[in-house]
Amino acid sequence: MVCAGVKSAAVRVGRARLVTAAVATVLALLLSACGDQRRADEIIVYTSRADHLVKPVFDAYTAETGTRIRFITDNEAALITRLEAEGAGSPADMLITVDAGNLWLAADRGLLQSVSDERLESAVPANLRDPEGQWFGLTVRARTLVYSTERVQPDELSTYEALADDAWQDRLCLRTSKKVYNQSLVATMIERLGEAEAEQVVRGWIGNLATDVFANDNAVMEAIVAGQCDVGIVNTYYFGRMLRDRPELPIRLFWANQGDDESGVHVNISGAGLTRNAPNAEAAQDLLAWMAQPTAQRILADGNLEYPVNPDVVPHEQVAAWGSFRPDDLNVEIAGRRQVEAVKLMDRAGYR
């Protein structure tokens, strides 16, 4: 209806010889927006994992099965709000986000549907997926300690919590609390230690900071290299990317909390779930299950030096070289459940 109106307006304007290039541009834009019909067999994905990290996987799937996949990238909060606003009319079949907290939130808002699928349950460890099958991890991201090989002996390091000790006064660098990775880390600390003790730890970190908190993990590592501080907390793939370009840098990873009575390395996921009103749920479920299998796992994990979620798939050579570690076995949904508490705790502790 509207499209027809725009078309006839375009014709009329043309006849009247009033067309300026500008008006034509605007009309052409409106026209091209119309007629963009959804094909019955295609899958539509909303993803906060960026284009260059998901497109290779989608291309491989299309090559293998012929199924067309279209996707929109955006910030996860925006995508979740969009799903909510679109309601039953949403064209989306699948939501992909980084950080389990976001998937938990989408499930909590009733935007995802439960999937029971042997292919997924056998490929994804139980603590890396939703107990009700509303979302599944696709890659694992480990957040651990990074230190200067020039000023720190590895045996001085032990746990995240120990970075609050006086020994690290003016030696610690942290990324901002506004990044969800730190919120998830603190959320699991609240789960294990309780709120009061977790807050003590965070206050200890803040007291030990060598400088203002940084906007990203790369800056934390650069600061350690430059000698501004000695130790920090980063996601391993940032470390991997930096060392891939400059292997000579004097920094190394340390696997935190590996003692018998300790929690293990903090891990999180990037993952996906089917939307509640997915128009093409069956095809989307096939895609989701396929993404947990070796071919896709290779592309997803290696493309960003992350860990595959499927235990049958070995990590990339460069990633494997950092050694193996025992991950925290808490279900990653804790990150979502306790995120708001974690944010408030960090605000109280003065962690900007």
Binding site: V26, L29, R82, T176, A215, K344
Partner: protein
């Protein structure tokens, strides 16, 4: 006389067609704002208490520091540079005339990142200083002063551009008259030229400050928490969009009050011109002339050449690997969207300006104000307001007429979003050109037998052209850089350069973000150059 009647504004008893159109436009802009205002129906006292107990005071103080600092910064840079290029002669003036506008094409977060990359503890400057001077320790430069400097360098072109246009139209004759009446050159500037340019400068300042208030990218790079940070914190991290909308509407209220105060401050002053004059430039002494060149060069270097050079370095170093055939699609779509949105926005701004100029009706004033509030909202929040109202329209159409969604996922929605967000940008320059058209000029033309159409062509158009071109350019570049609304509302496949920049930076791939950023800057250069040529002084 029909709706095209010109000349002195007419007092209307009842709103006519154009007034109604203006009201409709205003309603369109206010719709998303109203959706956000609805958030006050909810009770978010818990979040408010949390923010008030922990971060709110700091955030408000930080924001004030930023607004005052950037305000002074853009005024000093923008007015001084505009004055230099439009009234003085110095080596390189013709180049700086347009080159000083180029920083407009550099997104704020890019300059912020490059500034830290170069100046922070681990950057080249401090590293070399530590090697040269053993006693030098260095430290963090992520401090308020650097945030103020960075944003001033990015946003001064708004003031520069509008002030330059105003000074040029004033012409030399005005200054000569002031001098003949006994004022020294400085007094003539402070007491005549500057006050005459006040509407233009105020419009530029308002744009710069609204950008500052809405900025999230650059302050995030510095981890400098402002009021906008609280808005995002509430939405992204405390997961409460309602509280975010409440905070955003407070920000908007603050902006509205400020704009109204500025209006009242102008009082009954009029700023009409006697027509376009030829410029005869003053030629300062040799030393002063080279000092002026030095000043302009420094600003051009730090605000444009150095950041672009840094981007270029990254691109040559590695990021060119991303250059493939898909890239042309990004460039084309960016240009298409920006051109379409710029034309649509400026046409509507002209409508607003015209109605406000020719009609006196109590609703006109309010409608025009209402139609230009979009710019002060942080982009993401406004985008969400637009999305929520569009989704509601779609759902209503779907349930009432059984239509499939026509707004969400379509280009129309994105275009409307751009218009809502950038109407204020286009309206500022358009309005300040309208203010320069004396009603008496139109009266004279009519008395001399010109038809209304002729009066438009021979008086309105020449006087409005610089303002219209300025508005086109500003919106064009703003749309190209726009991220949040584009991300949220673009149809499938309509990725733009800004979308690519977002995807790379969000993954911490700063070097790979250099290619789309640099392309954005380069694509922005062409319209800047062409339009500045059009408005160049004779």
């Amino acid at each position: 006389m029909g709706i095209l009647a010109l000349g002195r504004p007419r007092r209307l008893r009842r709103p006519d067609g154009l007034v109604l159109l203006t009201l409709a436009l205003s309603a369109m802009v206010l719709m998303p704002v109203a959706v956000l205002a609805l958030s006050w129906l909810g009770n978010e006292s818990q979040i408010w208490r949390h923010l008030a107990d922990t971060v709110l005071l700091d955030l408000v103080l930080n924001t004030l520091v930023l607004v005052v600092g950037v305000g002074v910064g853009v005024l000093v840079l923008g007015v001084s540079l505009a004055w230099m290029v439009s009234t003085l002669d110095f080596p390189g003036r013709r180049f700086f005339d347009w080159a000083l506008l180029l920083p407009l094409a550099v997104p704020a977060y890019v300059l912020a990142f490059v500034a830290l990359d170069i100046l922070d503890f681990s950057g080249p400057v401090q590293s070399s200083l530590r090697q040269l001077i053993p006693a030098f320790e260095g430290g963090s430069v992520r401090r308020p002063w650097l945030v103020v400097v960075t944003l001033s360098l990015v946003f001064y072109p708004y003031v520069y551009m509008l002030a330059r246009a105003a000074f040029m139209v004033q012409g030399r004759a005005l200054m000569d008259q002031a001098r003949i009446l006994g004022l020294g050159p400085y007094a003539a500037f402070w007491r005549v030229a500057l006050p005459m340019a006040r509407p233009a400068i105020a419009a530029g300042l308002a744009l710069a400050l609204m950008e500052t208030l809405a900025d999230f990218g650059a302050v995030a790079v510095f981890n400098y928490d402002t009021f906008t940070t609280a808005i995002y914190k509430s939405w992204y991290h405390l997961r409460n969009l309602n509280a975010a909308a409440q905070l955003a509407s407070l920000l908007l209220l603050f902006v509205l009050v400020t704009l109204v105060l500025e209006r009242m401050g102008r009082g009954r002053a009029r700023f009409e011109q006697q027509g376009v004059h030829r410029m005869h430039r003053a030629r300062p002494g040799t030393v002063q002339r080279w000092l002026l060149t030095g000043y302009a060069s420094v600003i051009f270097l730090v605000a444009f050449a150095i950041p672009v050079g840094r981007l270029l370095f990254w691109v040559v170093d590695s990021a060119w690997l991303d250059l493939d055939s898909r890239y042309w699609g990004l460039v084309t779509r960016t240009l298409l969207l920006a051109t379409g949105a710029a034309v649509a926005t400026v046409v509507l701004a002209l409508l607003l300006g015209y109605v406000r100029r020719t009609r006196i009706h109590r609703m006109v004033h309010a409608a025009v104000r209402g139609a230009t509030v979009g710019y002060a909202m942080p982009g993401s929040v406004l985008a969400v307001g637009i999305m929520l109202s569009f989704a509601a329209v779609d759902q209503w159409l779907g349930s009432t007429f059984g239509l499939r969604p026509i707004l969400m996922g379509g280009l129309l929605a994105l275009m409307v979003a751009y218009v809502v967000r950038f109407l204020a940008v286009a309206y500022g320059p358009v309005e300040s050109s309208f203010e320069r058209v004396r009603p008496r000029l139109i009266d004279a033309a009519r008395t001399l037998g010109a038809t209304p159409a002729e009066a438009v062509r021979r008086i309105y158009l020449p006087l409005l052209t610089p303002g219209v071109l300025t508005a086109l350019l500003l919106v064009l570049i703003d749309v190209m850089k726009e991220m949040p609304a584009t991300l949220l509302l673009r149809p499938f496949g309509w990725d733009t350069l800004a979308v690519r920049v977002y995807e790379m930076t969000t993954e911490g791939e700063w070097a790979r973000a250099a290619l789309p950023s640099l392309t954005l800057v380069l694509v922005g250069l062409l319209p800047v150059y062409l339009l500045m040529r059009r408005t160049r002084a004779h």
